[in-house]
Point group: C2
Chain length 322, copies 2
Amino acid sequence: MQATACAHSNIAFIKYWGNRDHALRLPANSSFSMNLGGLFTRTTVRFSAALSADRAVVDGRVLEGASLARITAHLDYARRLAGCTLRAEVVSHNNFPTGAGIASSASAFAALSLAAAAALNLNLSEAELSAYARLGSGSAARSVPGGFVIWHMGEDHRSSYAESIAPPTHWQLIDLIAIISTAHKAVGSTEGHRLAESSPLQAARLATSAARLEQCARAVLERDFERLARLVELDSDIMHAVMQTSTPPLLYWLPPTVAVMHRVRQLRAEGVGVCYTIDAGANVHCLCLPEAAERVRAELSAIEGVREIRMAQPGGGAWLES
Amino acid sequence: MQATACAHSNIAFIKYWGNRDHALRLPANSSFSMNLGGLFTRTTVRFSAALSADRAVVDGRVLEGASLARITAHLDYARRLAGCTLRAEVVSHNNFPTGAGIASSASAFAALSLAAAAALNLNLSEAELSAYARLGSGSAARSVPGGFVIWHMGEDHRSSYAESIAPPTHWQLIDLIAIISTAHKAVGSTEGHRLAESSPLQAARLATSAARLEQCARAVLERDFERLARLVELDSDIMHAVMQTSTPPLLYWLPPTVAVMHRVRQLRAEGVGVCYTIDAGANVHCLCLPEAAERVRAELSAIEGVREIRMAQPGGGAWLES
């Protein structure tokens, strides 16, 4: 009745923003990501008759209220499948500092899903596990399979899951994450996804997203960095265009964010293999070719407002420990 | 055969970006602006048989090549109407420093059009003059009428002109222009308008622009600042979304641009009557209510990267001197 699982964080090349079904987190478009090796959550789930309520501790902090309720709701799904009514204790650690500006809900819900399923002896396929993780946090679906991953939007719970199109060894891309702000988001992703529809640009984003995903997957499979770079930046810019024009508007960029964007474009114009992509926050993920990494790191370090730079390489799928 | 005319610069509340007809500068959408009193171009046009070629001097600099050809082409239109083949000397001054980061083509072509028409004794209506100015620079159409102005996109040369919906005295809005960069644009507006179509978001912008213009005009007529503020920022953000997602992308914002955007939003949340709008450049026009101007100026001055703040109030239409 106990299991420990780990899952990597991931960075989307083709973004997820907006849901067709908020309760099930069925996304408004398919998305594409790379797992971030080295950045992961390790979670132990223990079901026990001795517990009168679920209990969760994340990085030493005991969760309460809405945060705990979100975990209970997520465990309930596995309990229903297993026909189990036992309460659980969840102990979770991120190997990157919480509040470091790196999103942890993807790795957290992927690890929680795998650990809960294993503790209850559920025999879920990778696709079923991915769909389950999706219920807790949309992008967690993408942290279940390894390497380069497509999350199919699907039509219902079963068909909305992620799968790998290439293992982490396929392409040694490096993600240099320029940490600009570690502040908690004023508007979190769950709430942000609800705002997507209020932007006059979201429909145009959705209408063109599948074509970008197809081209992105091809660029990854063919290791065509220049093509990937244009697509990744365009898709990020389009998502932020939607965010910035929603009601209320979400302007996640800070001054150093824009400084990094300009610098990355200048570097690429000079022939350096680097491009940017930005999630719902101010930090900038700078994807680069291995031979460009040293130069890019030095350039990013010189930008005012960049507090720290974290590095990740393609990571594998969620895994069980012990 | 000589006349001197002046015209103000203007700031668009509902933006012009993209043409249906590039040669005639027939815009892809109608736009709305306020003339900027105090910021103007003064232009003298003198037709003379003694000249063997057109000659133009702007702020003491003799124009050559493409800049001169653009003026000759503009004068040709008036010469054709007047049945005149004389060459002209054009002497133009901006009362704001050239390269101060304030667009001068709107005021320049409005003043040039009025001076040329007067020097040739053409009896053009305001609408005809506005349409003529549009041929030189789209936004110049809006600098011909006074105060608060709608430029109707129209269907052909004659029907694409601007007209005033309220005089400058209607509402004492103040424009505090945060000058962030005085660098020459890497991609000028004429070229930028051609890129608009390459953005996957331009069609959605155009489909929703007329509704914003109607609401904006009503907000101005009713002096409803809070409503105007939301519309003006949204329309600016939508235009920049198109720019940023065109191929090649145009990211006009610089780090201080984003700092000003955030500060303006914070101030408005605190009840200060201010909103931002940004043209094809890094500078930020901060529109404010008279009672907010002093506070806003102090706040803008404190932002790193804001080099200077210029002030303008609603201005009248183009006028003849002498």
